[in-house]
């Protein structure tokens, strides 16, 4: 459905997107994840035919986004980051206008507006002027517009930003639903969101792709390097010294917790040091009140990879 090859975008001498390539199959939800300034919006603007790329190519449904831009635009529904709308129009007029721009007939518009109004819960405010709507309602009007012509590909730039928790949940469900019939590509910096609704994830930082895969894949790849947390009663010095002797231990951090010492150790991939820690405590006669393995979250992974990229860019 989407094929991106060596895509590059420069703003002056600043490299916002640096030679990225990926492909997206038809159907499903793709999450485009990255910290602020990563280049998500820039990539999305190239795919939605707003900005031309500085290098590389991108096709959507086989059409080139630059050379066959009108064909691409007909097949794509795009919700920009800031949800720009015409404030003086009523939501229904706006949707009518957008439908006409896409060459939809009167009947298609009427049924299309009925469909999106229901799916995006536009309710009675569809007949109110847009400048009287709240941020969340505007967001829904923008989403309704993107879905109006039943596009093959929906591109949503941070679709849940500015919504209340109920709306966020409803919108996520809607996107998951849409992913069953359409291809959806969304950007976000909220990890849990991507974990919940996306089938595929692309993590981007400082203009480069740092990881791709399903959220589960990424979590697995990282959780091998899980950490073990133990709460022990003993001298800091002793704990530090003794735990370091355990094979496979890479890092030990200690912190005081109400008279106990909270010991966090990370070990080499594949090493489970819980048993060693227990034996150690027994041997030394330390009191041990907690011993558990911390499953790595995608968040740890995200913070780690993006931090690496940020330092690369800073150099």
């Amino acid at each position: 459905m989407v094929r991106v090859e060596n895509l590059t975008k420069r703003y002056g001498s600043f490299l916002a997107v640096d030679n990225i390539s990926f492909a997206v199959q038809r159907g499903g939800v793709l999450g485009f994840l990255g910290p602020n300034g990563a280049g998500k919006t820039t990539t999305i603007r190239i795919l939605s035919c707003f900005h031309p790329a500085s290098g590389g190519s991108a096709t959507i449904g086989g059409y080139d986004v630059f050379r066959q831009s009108i064909d691409v635009r007909r097949r794509v529904g795009y919700l920009p980051e800031s949800t720009p709308l015409y404030p003086e129009m009523r939501a229904r007029e706006y949707l009518q206008f957008r439908g006409k721009l896409r060459g939809m007939s009167r009947d298609e518009r009427t049924s299309g507006i009925r469909r999106v109004a229901e799916r995006c819960w536009l309710g009675s405010f569809i007949d109110r002027p847009i400048n009287q709507l709240s941020k969340g309602m505007k967001q829904r009007v923008g989403l309704a517009d993107a879905m109006l012509h039943d596009p093959d590909l929906l591109i949503l730039d941070e679709p849940t930003i500015g919504l209340d928790p109920t709306q966020i949940r409803e919108t996520r469900n809607l996107i998951k639903d849409l992913g069953e019939r359409h291809t959806v590509m969304l950007s976000s910096h909220i990890l849990s969101e991507v974990e919940q609704i996306c089938d595929q994830t692309i993590i981007i930082a400082a203009g480069k792709i740092v990881a791709t895969g399903s959220p589960q894949d990424l979590r697995d790849r990282f959780s091998e390097q899980g950490r073990v947390v133990a709460e022990i009663k003993a001298e800091h010095k002793d704990i530090e010294e003794e735990t370091r002797k355990i094979t496979g231990i890479q890092q030990v951090t200690l912190a005081d917790a109400n008279g106990w010492v909270r010991t966090t150790v990370s070990a080499k991939a594949g090493c489970d040091v819980r048993e060693d820690l227990f034996k150690l405590a027994k041997e030394k006669n330390w009191a041990l009140r907690e011993l558990r393995r911390e499953g790595a979250t995608l968040e740890d992974f995200f913070i780690k990879v993006t931090a690496e990229q940020q330092t690369v860019r800073a150099q």
């Binding site: 009108i70 635009r73 003086e88 206008f97 721009l101 060459g103």
Partner: protein, 239 residues
């Protein structure tokens, strides 16, 4: 064609919802009324619109049309709606022509309010309808050029004030200053500057003449500015 029409209708609709447009209409009606009253009846030797059309109307349009046009693209650049517009399956030419005709239609509505003056004159003397037709034609062509010029500046910046000031400046230069400038030169430059003067071309319409030369001047300059606007909008994508 359908898309241009859709765009134009949206713009026309937006005018009727915009408080600024109503303020501009009020200024326009007041100024036109004042100019008509002072120019026609004060020294009323002959009942004609000549005085109004020759100078006052041109001056009014130099101010009013940029104010009506400034919003058209600037506002989309400022609010970001340009992004939804330019990612819809429409070309830059369709956008520009749609906006142009939207403003133009609104201008025709403004012109229609002037119909009251010929009616007033009719009560005082006989009206020359051929002359009236030429006058209207001149105003229509003049307005088209002014709107196209202002539209170009509207596409250049997201700040409406800058767009409107730049339009005032260029329109005043093209309309009033180029004749004065021409006096400073001789020969070819003088002829060229006179050719470029909008008022030179407009005057014959006021006198009741339709010269294809003048029509061609207005049509080509208007098209030139529309073309520049399209190019400007295409460049916008690269930023």
């Amino acid at each position: 064609m359908g898309i241009i029409c859709t765009m134009a209708r949206r713009e026309l609709g937006a005018y009727f919802l915009s408080p600024i447009a109503y303020a501009v209409i009020a200024i326009y009606l007041f100024a036109a009324g004042l100019a008509f009253g002072l120019g026609t009846f004060a020294n009323s030797a002959e009942a004609s619109l000549r005085n109004l059309l020759e100078f006052w109307m041109v001056l009014i349009l130099v101010f009013v049309l940029p104010m009506l046009t400034m919003r058209l693209i600037s506002d989309e650049l400022r609010s970001g709606t340009i992004e939804t517009l330019m990612t819809a399956p429409v070309t830059e030419s369709q956008i520009v022509l749609g906006k142009f005709f939207g403003a133009f239609a609104f201008y025709l509505v403004l012109l229609a309010t002037l119909a009251i003056y010929p009616i007033l004159l009719e009560m005082y003397g006989d009206m020359d309808y051929k002359l009236l037709f030429c006058n209207v034609m001149g105003l229509v062509l003049l307005g088209g050029l002014y709107i196209a010029t202002s539209l170009f500046f509207s596409a250049c910046t997201k700040h409406q004030v800058i767009a409107v000031l730049a339009s005032f400046f260029l329109l005043a230069l093209m309309t009033f200053a180029s004749q004065g400038l021409a006096q400073q030169f001789d020969g070819a430059i003088r002829a060229a500057l006179q050719q470029l003067s909008v008022r030179t071309h407009y005057m014959d319409f006021v006198r009741g003449l339709i010269d294809t030369n003048h029509v061609v001047f207005f049509v080509t300059t208007t098209s030139l500015f529309l073309f520049l606007t399209v190019k400007r909008l295409e460049m916008q994508r690269w930023q």
